[in-house]
């Protein structure tokens, strides 16, 4: 599986990331590094603990990281979740936005897993 196919599988924007980060090796390296990035897990614990400030910060980081990798769906979902908490509390509609982030994130992880399998 090439990194391009991997991007196509999870519905992320390969053309965009290729234009911005230039080389396939770099894209692959950072996409795989993303599976070890703690911001998603920290977002989950903050959401569960009802800690709005940390959840905001983690959603914000996730938005940035996903954006840089052109994981467009995940970027959009975390941006919406992030905006919903900007005022410093977790509003009721955040639950739905959070679920959407979760779904996108799991899809990305599945794609990453597939990519790793293909490499072995």
């Amino acid at each position: 599986m090439t990194i391009r196919e991997c991007y196509e599988q999870m519905g992320a924007d390969y053309e965009d990331v290729k234009r911005r980060l230039a080389s396939d090796e770099r894209i692959e390296k950072f996409f795989l590094m993303f599976t070890r990035d703690p911001s998603y897990n920290e977002l989950v614990s903050a959401m569960e603990a009802g800690d709005a400030a940390t959840a905001f910060r983690m959603a914000h980081t996730l938005k940035g990281v996903a954006g840089n990798l052109s994981l467009s769906e995940l970027g959009k979902a975390s941006s919406e979740l992030c905006e919903s908490m900007r005022a410093g509390s977790i509003p009721p509609e955040a639950a739905e936005l959070y679920a959407r982030v979760k779904e996108c994130y799991e899809r990305a992880m599945a794609a990453a897993e597939a990519l790793k399998q293909g490499r072995q």
Binding site: R20, S39, T61, G64, V65, N68
Partner: protein, 500 residues
């Protein structure tokens, strides 16, 4: 930036992915120093701000965010030294505007292109380097010119004094005293419009106050005994004579320096009560430049040895002037003199010993130094001092610490941090959890309170502080001294030695 080596870029971002990607993009061209949050960034800045080529700064971070870092950099003036590029996925205009308002050079939005980042980084670095070298050239030239000016004025005045059989120190003393008094005065009132430029100008013109003495016949000027009434009149004519010389200058008549020098020459023997000469001006009719030089003249005359009298001590001179034994002065000026007090004596010694070289360092294009930060030379000297201190603190077995009020940042020397098991930099130590675990909080707060209570002239605070170290509770003897800039408490420096 030292030649040959890569430029150093400080990268501040709480996400390791973001840092890794940026290192990947910039690592070939630059040495990247990473910081995880604002507090770490401040500690790197404190250590090596003059060494940094550029700073890349994230906004949303724990501990201390990007805006707080920018604000602190404004306070310390580092923002003038290190160009900052903000990198954030934040796209709201208020964020972008706020970052620019706080002095950021560029704002790069995530997601970014590799090429765009490289270009912007390169352009910012180049532009900043160019601006710096131009700034340095201008400042060096100004310094050189200003130095020649001061030298010419001082040589000229020295010639006048030489004829008078006095040492050349008098001119230098008057300059220093005038400057110190004017600086105090500017703080006390704004009715004289004493800008730093104006103070420099008056101090410079003060050197000419006695040029009229060149018109006094030598046998009167250097007569050892008492003057006859006629001779006294001839002597007193020097102030009007000096003013006249300046009035009759075929050139520069409109120059502010000449105008100020004229006023000083003519009226530096007037008295606040109207009983002086040559015009018997009273109170605020006497230009402030002349009032200040008159006071400086009296102080220096008292504290210097003359053929007819010994040198009085600073204390005696102060008592005589305040007691009205040597003329009358504006109450405000007398208050300035009281305020300056021992500082005056110290300043006089330091500056007079250093002579021109020192004068050149302190006095010069203030407007420039203020606008463009300190001059290159001054910065280099400061940097060297800093380095010396760092080396000494590394060699020391004691715990040394420094606290900056502006950033609420406590810094330990390497050894100190190791002994205490604390990081080298602790933000907001008063409330820090780390500090609470290590240092007895009652003792810490007592130390802080006592430091807040001492004045500028007080000796260092000394007390016993208990600390919980891995091997158990230990007592330390702490000596700490407040640091001041003008009248403001800016920091604390101290040393802690274990009590056996």
């Amino acid at each position: 930036m030292s030649s040959g080596s890569k430029g150093k870029v400080l990268l501040v971002d709480d996400s390791f992915m973001n840092r890794a990607l940026m290192c990947d993009i910039l690592g070939d061209e630059y040495e990247v120093i990473e910081a995880e949050n604002g507090v770490e960034a401040m500690s790197v800045l404190a250590r090596m701000h003059s060494d940094l080529t550029l700073m890349l700064l994230d906004i949303v971070m724990p501990e201390m965010d990007g805006f707080e870092v920018l604000a602190a950099m404004n306070k310390s003036g580092w923002i003038e030294e290190v160009p900052v590029i903000i990198i954030s996925s934040e796209d709201s205009y208020t964020y972008v505007d706020h970052a620019y308002d706080l002095g950021a050079t560029e704002y790069i939005q995530r997601p970014f292109d590799e090429k765009m980042v490289k270009h912007r980084v390169e352009n910012t670095v180049m532009l900043h380097a160019k601006q710096r070298s131009l700034e340095k050239m201008v400042i060096d030239q100004m310094l050189e010119k200003e130095k020649s000016n001061i030298m010419m004025v001082n040589i000229l005045s020295h010639i006048v004094e030489f004829r008078n059989g006095e040492s050349g120190m008098h001119v230098l003393h008057i300059r220093v005293l005038t400057e110190v008094l004017l600086e105090r005065l500017a703080k006390m009132t704004d009715k004289y419009d004493l800008t730093p430029e104006r103070i420099s100008l008056i101090a410079n013109a003060s050197a000419l106050h006695d040029i009229g003495k060149i018109a006094i016949p030598e046998e009167v000027l250097n007569k050892p005994g008492r003057f006859t009434p006629e001779e006294r009149l001839i002597m007193q004519a020097h102030s009007a004579a000096g003013a006249e010389m300046l009035e009759n200058l075929p050139y520069y008549g409109d120059e502010e320096l000449v105008k100020v020098a004229h006023d000083i020459c003519r009226w530096h023997h007037e008295r606040y009560d109207g009983k002086g000469y040559p015009d018997g001006l009273a109170g605020e009719e006497i230009p402030i430049s002349a009032q200040v030089v008159a006071l400086a003249d009296v102080y220096d005359a008292l504290t210097s040895e003359r053929v007819y009298k010994p040198a009085y001590t600073h204390e005696e001179a102060m008592r005589m002037i305040q007691g009205g034994e040597c003329g009358t002065f504006s109450p405000l000026l007398l208050a300035c003199l009281r305020e300056a007090d021992s500082y005056l004596e110290k300043e006089l010694k330091v500056k007079s010993n250093g002579g021109l070289a020192h004068e050149e360092m302190t006095n010069l294009p203030r407007s420039l130094l203020k606008v463009g930060g300190a001059s290159g030379k001054k910065l280099q000297m400061l940097e060297q001092e800093r380095e010396k201190r760092i080396i000494l603190s590394r060699m020391s077995k004691d715990i040394q610490f420094e606290y900056e009020y502006a950033f609420e940042l406590l810094t330990f020397n390497e050894n100190g941090a190791r002994i205490l098991g604390l990081p080298e930099t602790v933000s907001r130590p008063r409330t820090s959890e780390n500090m609470r675990k290590t240092v007895n909080f009652d003792d810490l707060h007592e130390l802080i309170d006592r430091l807040q209570a001492v004045g500028q002239q007080d000796p260092p605070v000394e007390m016993t502080v208990r600390a919980n170290l891995p091997e158990g509770e230990r007592k330390f003897n702490v000596i700490a001294q407040s640091l001041w800039t003008d009248d403001e408490r800016t920091g604390v420096i101290g040393i802690a030695t274990p009590i056996e």
